[in-house]
Symmetry: C2
Subunit: 206 residues, 2 copies
């Protein structure tokens, strides 16, 4: 899942070749939170790995680490949406496209030695009842991804309500399977989820 | 999910009324890790909330926090297995039993104000590639829960391989849905997962 430079809400011109300080802080926070969540990402390490300073962090994010983390979740949201959207576009059939998406996630996970899982999940769990702004940003990510899947299902002729409901389960199952694949260091949970979700979706397709 | 006092591997007699120091440490670690994962559970808080001392922690767990955390994951594993097993036993039909299990999880989550999610997930994600013994304990938990579901599926007449494969997806989808329910503060993701998993399982039932 390569950084796209478009998902951080900045209105700056595209500087992909050499991202600005704000962009580097957001990308670094996103990567570190993907790997270890929010709490175990020390501000000092974050600033150092971004090649930035504490002063610049508070310049761009007056609210400090939590404000940066919200931007980082938005960045991860956009990256994951890009990966998911491309996979869903790869096949006109919704069931096959969802199975393909699971395969793409499994391959990316294996290629990263099982480290690059969902950019939101670890932080989402930590945020529950503790960090409301961060929790809201994570919830928004899930809803965005569900909407991508729901649109694909509607385009396959599945009714509005079934599409919306199924999309919640598709994203939840992919999330859970990605976590299981990471912890057990195996593509299998994601590939099985893809196969079973395809069967489920096909049972709704007219 | 009440503590059962049976899942920590101690051979002590049942002391539910007043658990011993080791048991209190394990239960407290399990609860704190359920809420915030491993890294954001400070040893000092853990010892204080368990009514114990640092000395007693290192007496029972010479390997320190990580060794205690492995025991805590074993405890959470047993608690979750108890909840899941009871729900699966509540209906002879596997599909309906799995839907019932999702409902039980949704009710327990709502009753805890969305805090008491899976006792393993948050720690599992943090452990990947960082804390191998803890990662292995988390992976074992998932496999144990999968085996409970697989046994239920086999008892319903689903073939050996399909039962094993489906069980991986059932646990993954319940895990992902529980996380989504927590973050969005809604029973709906778990209830939808239950309904969709029941439909999927029914499509395999002879």
């Amino acid at each position: 899942m390569a950084a796209t430079g478009t998902a951080t809400g900045t209105a700056e011109p595209d500087k992909r070749a050499e991202p600005g300080t704000r962009e580097r802080l957001v990308r670094t926070a996103s990567r570190l939170m993907q790997h270890g969540g929010y709490e175990s990402t020390p501000v000092k390490q974050l600033v150092r790995e971004a090649g930035a300073t504490l002063g610049s962090l508070y310049h761009f994010f007056p609210g400090g680490k939590q404000e940066l983390a919200v931007a980082a979740i938005g960045h991860g949201d956009g990256e994951f949406a890009g990966t998911l959207g491309a996979a869903l576009d790869s096949d006109p059939d919704a069931a096959r496209a969802i199975e393909a998406a699971a395969g793409v996630l499994a391959d990316a996970l294996a290629a990263s030695d099982w480290r690059d899982g969902c950019p939101v999940t670890a932080t989402a769990l930590e945020s529950v009842g503790r960090l409301p702004e961060l929790q809201e940003a994570c919830a928004r990510s899930f809803v965005n991804w569900q909407e991508l899947v729901a649109a694909k299902l509607r385009a396959s002729g599945i009714g509005e309500e079934d599409s919306r409901d199924l999309a919640v389960t598709v994203i939840a199952a992919l999330e859970g399977a990605e976590m299981t694949s990471q912890v057990t260091r195996s593509r299998t949970p994601l590939l099985l989820a893809g196969r079973h979700l395809a069967r489920l979706v096909a049972s709704y397709t007219p």
